[in-house]
């Protein structure tokens, strides 16, 4: 059960109506709509931060799914397991990013491993990030790409805590898909 009322097309404030005109916009929007002045700015940040960007959707889903797993957010793990499959990650890769199997077996490319190291250092630890993690990442990726992924990790951590704190429910469609894929 969500901890807050999830607004719908009838109860959504005027300035949030646009997000409800195409049907149910999902629980993140439905919860954010209760503070309408934050809805536009939050989505304006999260949308591009989680979108394809310069590094592309595969790397973005590494960042989102891995961060969500490290933060223990079941809502985001569920949602981005399906998105990850949609953009072409294998079930094996998804399981590894979710922390269920060894990363080394799923990811063989040095560049991808370096990126996952950067993501893990950002989302899975506190305090300073060791120089060798940064150096390894920079050996394979441009500065702007690592900046972009840092923004994605930050936006994902916001969503993780938002969804977890408010106990947002995973949609039945996503749960069905996860069951069908053997990834529930």
């Amino acid at each position: 059960m969500p901890r807050v009322e999830l607004l719908d097309a009838e109860t959504a404030p005027l300035s949030a109506q646009q997000y409800f005109s195409g049907g149910d916009p999902g629980p993140i929007v439905a919860a954010l709509a209760t503070v309408p002045e934050l809805l536009g700015p939050a989505l304006g940040f999260v949308g591009p931060a989680l979108g394809a960007g310069a590094v592309g959707v595969r790397i973005k889903e590494f960042a989102i799914l891995r961060t969500s797993a490290l933060q223990g957010c079941s809502y985001c793990i569920n949602a981005h397991t399906t998105v990850s499959l949609d953009v072409g990650l294998t079930g094996h890769e998804v399981r590894a990013l979710r922390g269920e199997t060894a990363l080394e077996e799923a990811f063989v490319l040095a560049a991808e491993r370096a990126m996952i190291g950067w993501i893990d250092a950002l989302a899975g630890a506190t305090g300073a990030i060791p120089d060798d993690v940064w150096a390894e990442a920079r050996a394979h990726w441009a500065e702007h790409e690592l900046v972009e992924v840092a923004v994605t990790v930050g936006a994902t951590m916001f969503l993780n805590r938002f969804a977890t704190g408010l106990q947002l429910p995973t949609s039945p469609q996503v749960l069905e898909r996860l069951t069908a894929e053997g990834l529930s």
């Binding site: 607004l7 009838e10 109860t11 959504a12 404030p13 005027l14 300035s15 709509a33 209760t34 503070v35 309408p36 002045e37």
Partner: protein
């Protein structure tokens, strides 16, 4: 004193934005009228603004370029600090104070008498010249309390307006005896407001009044303890739940935040689009 500058002041000056800012001082009430928009009653959640918030709204409203204030509830006179706060607010802008006119006896009357000020008008509800009809919607003895209160306030130099909420046509001849009663107190015809029941809040639960959507409701900025709304008919309560369809922002201060949100929301709506149903 230089005129206020900025987009809000410009919008008020050119008529895009109404000049009045409403404040819901509180939601609880000593009455429980059948058509109440806020389901107010003695047991209602109070949802009070503080005196400091109300004074800050008045001050910032003036700075932004608004031209008037309105206070409503609930019954504002249940708040013991209200008259003093209102006297501070009127230092910034003139205001109308809506109330049910049933609490003006003893000490409360003398406190209300302090509001004899050219910038303050008390708007008191009275729905019929027939006590039974009036009291059917507004509760036992409401008529007699109001007709006793109005002359008492006027004697003390307090400006009084009368508001009549009706289920019938706004220009019905059936209202003529009530208009005559109001005129007999010396209240000018322009200060007797006749308005329809709006189908929100308790009126909606009981199927009373006219259906209203945003463009039917005057786009006045309305500040409550729960946030800022489009219009004084925005922050209604239905089955104990605060309606959020006309919510603008949860932020109320600085007032520029909700004021700019309202300005953005009315963008594209034709001027005067809210006049059709006579809601005011």
């Amino acid at each position: 004193m230089t005129a206020a500058q900025g987009p809000i002041a410009d919008a008020v000056r050119d008529g895009t934005l109404p000049g009045r800012v409403w404040l819901y001082s509180n939601y609880h009430c000593n009455l429980a009228c059948s058509y109440c928009l806020t389901e107010s009653s003695p047991r209602s959640e109070r949802r009070e603004l503080t005196a400091a918030q109300m004074i800050a709204v008045a001050e910032q409203a003036k700075e932004l370029g608004f031209t008037a204030l309105g206070i409503t509830g609930g019954e504002p006179f249940l708040l013991p600090w209200l008259p003093e706060a209102v006297l501070e607010m009127v230092q910034h802008l003139p205001l109308v104070l809506l109330n049910n006119g049933t609490l003006f006896v003893g000490e409360r009357l003398e406190r209300a008498a302090k509001l004899a000020h050219p910038g303050i008008a008390l708007q008191i509800s009275l729905d019929s010249h027939l006590p039974d009809i009036n009291d059917m919607a507004r509760g036992p003895d409401n008529f007699s309390k109001v007709v006793e209160s109005v002359p008492r306030l006027l004697e003390r130099g307090v400006q009084v307006r009368i508001a009549t909420t009706t289920a019938g046509p706004l220009d019905s001849p059936a209202l003529d005896p009530l208009k005559a009663l109001v005129a007999s107190w010396g209240v000018p015809a322009d200060d007797h407001i006749v308005r329809p029941i709006v189908r929100r809040g308790r009126a909606d639960e009981r199927g009373l009044g006219v259906q209203a959507i945003a463009r039917d409701i005057p786009s006045e900025l309305c500040i409550t303890a729960d946030g800022a709304f489009w219009g004084s008919f925005g922050p209604t309560v239905r089955n104990g739940r605060l309606d959020t369809d006309l919510l603008l922002t949860r932020t109320i201060l600085p007032l520029a935040v909700p004021a700019n949100a309202l300005l953005a929301a009315i963008g594209g709506m034709p001027q005067g689009a809210d006049a059709a149903l006579g809601i005011r």
